[in-house]
């Protein structure tokens, strides 16, 4: 019980530290295109919650497979979905014409 409590408290502290790091990072003067990197500590927090609170590692192989599948297909959606906008140039028509 005590070991469990200690572990959970460490997880919690780690999350708070990462969260603080994320807020601090958001004040860095990064160029606009690089700003999404501010999310890196956030991504780590997701991992910490999954491992610390959701006990992925204690779960069966199946549980881990489902967790990985969720992340993998999220990346498929985001990466393949971003290829088009990131490599496309829109030539906008001014508002006047849209009436």
């Amino acid at each position: 019980m005590r070991r469990d409590l200690n572990r959970l408290l460490i997880v919690w502290l780690l999350l708070l530290i990462l969260g603080a790091a994320e807020v601090a990072a958001s004040y860095l003067p990064l160029p606009r295109a690089w700003r999404p990197l501010v999310m890196l500590p956030g991504a780590m927090m997701v991992g910490v919650v999954a491992l610390g609170f959701m006990e992925v590692r204690r779960g069966s192989v199946l549980v881990r497979a489902f967790a990985v599948a969720g992340i993998f297909w999220l990346l498929v959606l985001l990466v393949l979905g971003s290829v088009d906008p990131l490599t496309r140039t829109n030539y906008p028509v001014p508002d006047a014409q849209l009436r």
């Binding site: 829109n90 030539y91 906008p92 028509v93 001014p94 006047a96 014409q97």
Partner: protein, 318 residues
């Protein structure tokens, strides 16, 4: 009209070759599949007393062989199709630009000389044509089967489509993106004329003055001339300009260095963008002080301005 679809552009013949190859490959595969199917069905029907011998236990050799074979054929088809497709994104510089606006449920066409037509498009034979297209409402699609081309026409942005008609005649044009009630009425004809006939047509339907000439008046009216010179030199001590802004003479088609270090070619789209959203691409060495004209200059006026800027030679006033 017959059941045969004419191939009336340079692109059409190439696409037909690709489709022909696909047809041959498909027919071969179908022949193989149906052939094997019928042979097996007859030879190995339950009542057939034929000696079947031992069946193959190891299958991976066969499997790998036909997987690899399909992969190779597929890759070849991909390269072929992609090669032709990439060309559709590379209109030649000298292409004749025609502006097309789709709206529920008609096509409005405007030629560089100011000639307008609806649901019809007159073109000269043998000359590359680039359509600059946008929509006033929903997504449409400009398709001419005889040229084997098609592209969606979106609201709020320009899409381009180019081709070279190579055979005079009258061809159908369709809207092929479902656009509401009278989608099926949003069709018309592309009339491909010989160059002299086309010139006659232009002359008979043209306005008294060109769009570029209109653009010149607008250049004054909207105050562009207050900042931008047209002599091609960026000497700001010139009498015209009190504010430092790049000169526009000879700009069209020339490379423009930007503040972020990149270089763009000043094409229609660049000019258009720079008027509507000047902050997006700032010319190196200039301050981002030009106001946006988005919503203030209508699309037709923008077109005229661009045509005027295009007409400016590097040396000075035309």
């Amino acid at each position: 009209m017959s059941l045969w679809l004419p191939a009336a552009s340079d692109n059409a013949a190439e696409v037909d070759h690709l489709i022909g190859a696909l047809l041959v490959i498909s027919a071969a595969v179908l022949l193989l599949v149906f052939g094997l199917l019928f042979v097996y069905l007859i030879k190995y029907r339950a009542g057939s007393p034929i000696d079947r011998g031992a069946i193959a236990q190891k299958t991976w050799r066969v499997e790998t062989a036909w997987t690899a074979a399909t992969l190779v054929i597929f890759f070849g088809l991909f390269v072929w199709g992609a090669d032709l497709y990439v060309r559709l994104f590379q209109p030649p510089q000298r292409a004749l630009k025609i502006y097309v606006v789709g709206k529920q449920w008609m096509w409005k066409v405007e030629h560089a000389g100011g000639q307008r037509e609806i649901n019809t498009l007159h073109l000269p034979v043998g000359m590359p044509v680039e359509l600059v297209m946008t929509s006033e409402d929903v997504i449409h699609d400009f398709a001419v089967p005889a040229f084997r081309i098609k592209h969606d026409v979106l609201p709020g942005r320009y899409e381009t489509l180019w081709f070279t008609p190579n055979r005079p005649g009258i061809y159908s044009l369709y809207c092929t993106q479902f656009c509401g009630l009278d989608h099926s009425k949003m069709s018309g004809n592309v009339v491909v004329l010989s160059p002299p006939e086309f010139q006659t047509w232009l002359a008979q339907n043209g306005g008294s003055h060109t769009l570029a000439a209109d653009g010149r008046a607008l250049f004054m009216r909207y105050g562009c001339s207050g900042c931008h010179g047209i002599d091609g030199s960026n000497d700001t001590s010139g009498a015209q300009s009190t504010v430092r802004a790049p000169s526009l003479g000879g700009l069209y088609g020339a490379p423009v260095p930007l503040t972020d270090g990149s270089v763009v070619i000043a094409d229609d789209r660049y000019l258009h963008d720079s008027i509507v959203d000047p902050e997006r691409q700032i010319v190196a060495g200039y301050a981002p002080i030009m106001p946006s004209f988005a919503g203030q200059i209508g699309e037709e006026d923008l077109l005229k301005l661009i045509l005027y800027i295009k007409s400016l030679p590097a040396g000075g006033s035309p």
